[in-house]
């Protein structure tokens, strides 16, 4: 397509940085129950809506951020991270409306330091543990398809993330009624024709099966036009008794986002005999709805976290270095908080169920270890609060745009090695080993000073060829 020719100034403006700023995306809708909850208007929202802007320090000291007017130096110079989001380039009050965007930007940086891929959410809430153990990347080809034809749309209906229709479970009553009025009602004849086609196909298969069993040649295929109104009404009646099949057909017709198929054993009784029923796995996006963006949300483009870390002394490591997590809310039965709430890389972490240190609720381990104290009491005397080491396993992004990071126990070895690398307390392995090799300050044998004391380290070098002095 030929581009419309514009004036040189316009072409210049179109390639300018201000014009390439994306329009802000709508903020998350918020919690509908927030009327009855404590809700902070200044809380960091789930995902950033505006571009983050920065400027070199030479321009920053004169307030030049590339916008209409210089920004006030008092607020933009005394900041740790010079990052702003500009909400209005100019307002009716003749000021540029901006605020710091270091919250989302630094959170993104911290998240990227975790080297976490984004994985497909679990199909059921019970599968959280399994999903954390064997995460599947959202970039796997079978799930990450958007250019699809009608047959692929049916084949991949439980794997893909993009749908033309809404997610019915997430609609409010008004939205649902509007959807019915505007989109669904007008397509009634089309749906009947669709069902007629399906019924004709099914009747053809039935005829063929009967003929095969009787040893005859198969009769001619039934066309959709041959299906009578009586047959169609019978088919509709049959479908109404089979809710799963009915939703599947309606969903395929309208391309609805899947809904969590809670297949229970009691549904088996209502299944019609001699009719093939497809029981497929539920879609990962059925429980909480399809994502509003690509399921990776652009946070990470990694497919896996399976690479090895190397330690300069100890060699290749089994685990990645553990990550310090902040104890946001310690466990306290007095306040009704029975599960500890951890924060990792700026996000509230999900601690899976299972036999984890985080989940041990016995009184016994409470005050024995540092970790026990951190998990069970609010440590106000520590700078930044209590922190424990954890190991992030999998990350998903739910339909509200929230980042969910699964955190489990860090392995003791990797924790010790990491502490030693950082010089923290409790990680003096190598130092201890060296010290154990040295002779004690008070000699065990007081008369042993005649013996030549040998240092374990100074064994000669490649230059001295073993000569020691």
């Amino acid at each position: 397509m030929a581009q419309r020719s514009v004036s040189p100034g316009a072409a210049l403006l179109r390639s300018s940085r201000m014009f390439s700023m994306p329009a802000p995306i709508p903020p998350p809708p918020g919690d509908y129950s927030s009327a009855t909850k404590h809700y902070s208007p200044t809380a960091t929202i789930n995902y950033p809506t505006h571009l983050s802007v920065t400027t070199p320090s030479s321009s920053r000291i004169v307030g030049d951020w590339g916008f209409k007017r210089p920004f006030p130096l008092k607020t933009t110079l005394k900041t740790t991270y010079p990052l702003v989001r500009v909400r209005q380039v100019d307002s009716t009050e003749h000021v540029t409306d901006f605020q710091s965007s270091s919250d989302h930007t630094i959170t993104l940086q911290k998240f990227q330091e975790l080297n976490m891929p984004i994985s497909v959410p679990p199909e059921h809430a019970d599968d959280k543990y399994k999903q954390a153990q064997t995460p599947v990347s959202v970039f796997e080809e079978e799930g990450d398809v958007t250019a699809i034809d009608s047959q692929m749309a049916v084949d991949l209906e439980n794997k893909r993330w993009k749908f033309k229709g809404p997610w019915l479970a997430g609609l409010t009553d008004g939205q649902f009624n509007e959807y019915l009025e505007k989109t669904v009602r007008t397509r009634r004849p089309e749906f009947r024709a669709y069902l007629k086609g399906l019924l004709a196909k099914e009747m053809t298969e039935d005829q063929g099966r009967v003929a095969r069993e009787a040893g005859e040649t198969a009769p001619a295929a039934v066309n959709a036009g041959d299906v009578t109104e009586t047959q169609l009404v019978g088919y509709l009646r049959r479908l109404r008794t089979d809710r799963m099949e009915l939703f599947r057909l309606v969903g395929r017709f309208l391309d609805l986002a899947p809904i969590a198929g809670d297949l229970k054993l009691r549904h088996l009784g209502s299944l019609e005999p001699n009719k093939a029923t497809h029981l497929t796995r539920a879609s990962p996006y059925g429980a909480t709805g399809p994502p509003i963006t690509h399921p990776s949300a652009g946070l990470s483009y990694l497919r896996t976290r399976n690479f090895g870390d190397n330690h300069p002394v100890y060699g290749p490591q089994k685990h990645h270095p553990p990550v310090k997590t902040r104890v946001l809310m310690p466990r306290s039965s007095g306040t009704g908080n029975f599960d500890v709430v951890l924060g990792i890389a700026g996000f509230v972490a999900e601690t899976p169920y299972g036999d984890l240190t985080f989940n041990i609720k016995t009184i016994k381990g409470r005050n024995q270890t540092d970790m026990g104290r951190a998990l069970h009491s609010l440590e106000l005397e520590k700078y930044g609060g209590g922190k424990v080491y954890g190991r992030p396993t999998a990350t998903t992004i739910d339909s509200n745009g929230r980042v969910r990071i699964n955190v489990t126990d860090a392995s003791k070895e990797s924790e010790t090695i990491h502490k030693e690398m950082l010089g923290e307390e409790g990680g003096e392995v190598y130092e201890k080993a060296l010290k154990s090799n040295e002779p004690p300050e008070v000699p065990l044998n007081p008369r042993g000073h005649m013996r030549q004391r040998r240092s374990p380290l100074l064994q000669g070098s490649s230059e001295s060829y073993g000569w020691t002095l």
């Binding site: 040189p8 100034g9 210049l12 300018s16 100019d90 060829y465």
Partner: protein, 400 residues
């Protein structure tokens, strides 16, 4: 004759004497080949470490000792010249390899190397944020012809319009400076001080960065009473003999006013329009463009944009000023002596003629010097800067 300590068969006495310089001892300790000691060492059974300091015997015992010869090193060929040329070759081959980090923009460039009218490009104007107008609801519809569109809630000023109007304004400033006009640069918002002073310095004009005293043009006899003025000729040299005129004449009025923020200086612009002084103003989308004679549609909030506008106009004034001086040297002057000065000179000439006639009748009296005979004269004003700052900036310039 001992040639070298590495030779075999050294006596122990000579060895001790030679071991004195510590440098050689260290060299020996570091060498990987053990030093052969020979049979003479049998007399000295205690094996000393090679780097142990041997106690120096008193000098009387070493008086007869032969001085140690300098150890001969293997004669390595001197490759300094070859190394130098090799380094040059390498530099020639690899010198241009790699990336070169260039600083394309420094905020102080506009003051260190001010752009002139020739440097006005759309890129420069866009980089200095000249295109950003105000919020769309704040606009003045008279500026519709300068507005290119709406983006991010603000009006975008057409860069072509800005460039064309800026060049036109620069031309106006240059011609006024060429004709010896008095130019006043006004920018009264915080941060504009450096911009207006630099523009005024370049174009030998006046500047104002504090409040305009209302009536400084329309009521100047009262407000600027007693300010000093000065007469200059076409080469900008002061002329004597106009004291009587300067004491009586009215204060000066600028011939061109350049205003960076017309919105806050409506009184000044109104006074200029009352006495027919042309004005140049930076007009943002919320400003009334008819307040000024020559509007420059641009962003009047960005100091970067105003610095570009100010330096372009200052450079234009500088060019006009230099052109005027050059032409004056060649003998062509593009301006005329003001009428009041002409009349004063006429009266002075008549008085001088009368005096000459009196002198002819009664010889012996002194004759007055006649300034009017010097051809074209130029009146100029110079005022004291301490008393009235805004008039203080009417500095070293020429009147109509």
């Amino acid at each position: 004759m001992i040639d070298s300590p590495l030779l075999t068969g050294i006596s122990i006495k000579a060895r001790r004497a030679l071991a004195a310089p510590a440098r050689q001892a260290c060299l020996r300790a570091l060498s990987t080949q053990p030093t052969p000691t020979g049979v003479a060492d049998l007399t000295d059974p205690i094996l000393q470490p090679p780097n142990a300091q041997t106690p120096q015997p008193p000098s009387i015992f070493t008086a007869n000792a032969k001085p140690g010869t300098r150890r001969k090193r293997p004669a390595a060929p001197d490759t300094t010249v070859q190394d130098y040329h090799r380094a040059l070759d390498l530099k020639q081959q690899l010198g241009r390899v790699g990336s070169r980090v260039e600083r394309t923009y420094r905020p102080a460039d506009v003051f260190l190397n001010p752009p002139g009218p020739k440097d006005v490009t759309l890129e420069l104007l866009m980089a200095s944020q000249a295109h950003m107008g105000h919020h769309t609801s704040l606009w003045n519809p008279a500026n519709a012809r300068y507005i290119y569109g709406v983006r991010q809630g603000i009006h975008i000023i057409s860069l072509e319009q800005t460039a064309a109007h800026l060049r036109r304004a620069a031309r106006v400033v240059e011609e006024v400076a060429y004709r010896g006009g008095l130019i006043l640069f006004v920018g009264t918002r915080p941060g504009q001080t450096q911009i207006v002073t630099q523009a005024a310095r370049m174009s030998r004009a006046c500047h104002l960065f504090t409040k305009w005293t209302p009536g400084s043009i329309t009521n100047s006899e009262v407000i600027l009473n007693g300010m000093q003025m000065q007469m200059l000729d076409e080469h900008d040299e002061p002329i004597e003999g106009f004291h009587r005129h300067l004491n009586e004449r009215r204060p000066l009025v600028p011939d061109l006013v350049v205003c960076l923020n017309p919105l806050e200086n409506y009184v000044l612009l109104h006074e200029c329009s009352l006495v027919n002084v042309p004005t140049i103003g930076v007009v943002d989308t919320n400003t009334e463009p008819t307040w000024v004679t020559y509007a420059i549609p641009a962003n009047d909030d960005s100091l970067r944009c105003l610095a570009v506008v100010g330096s372009v106009l200052g450079r234009a004034g500088e060019a006009g000023h230099l052109r005027r001086l050059d032409d004056a040297k060649k003998g062509s002057v593009a301006w005329q002596t003001p009428l009041d000065v002409q009349k004063f000179m006429e009266i002075e000439r008549q008085n001088a003629e009368k005096d000459a006639m009196k002198e002819a009748r009664n010889p012996g009296h002194d004759s007055l010097s006649n300034d009017g005979e010097r051809g074209q004269k130029k009146a100029a004003a110079d005022s004291l800067s301490q008393e009235f700052p805004q008039i203080a900036d009417f500095n070293s310039s020429s009147s109509r």
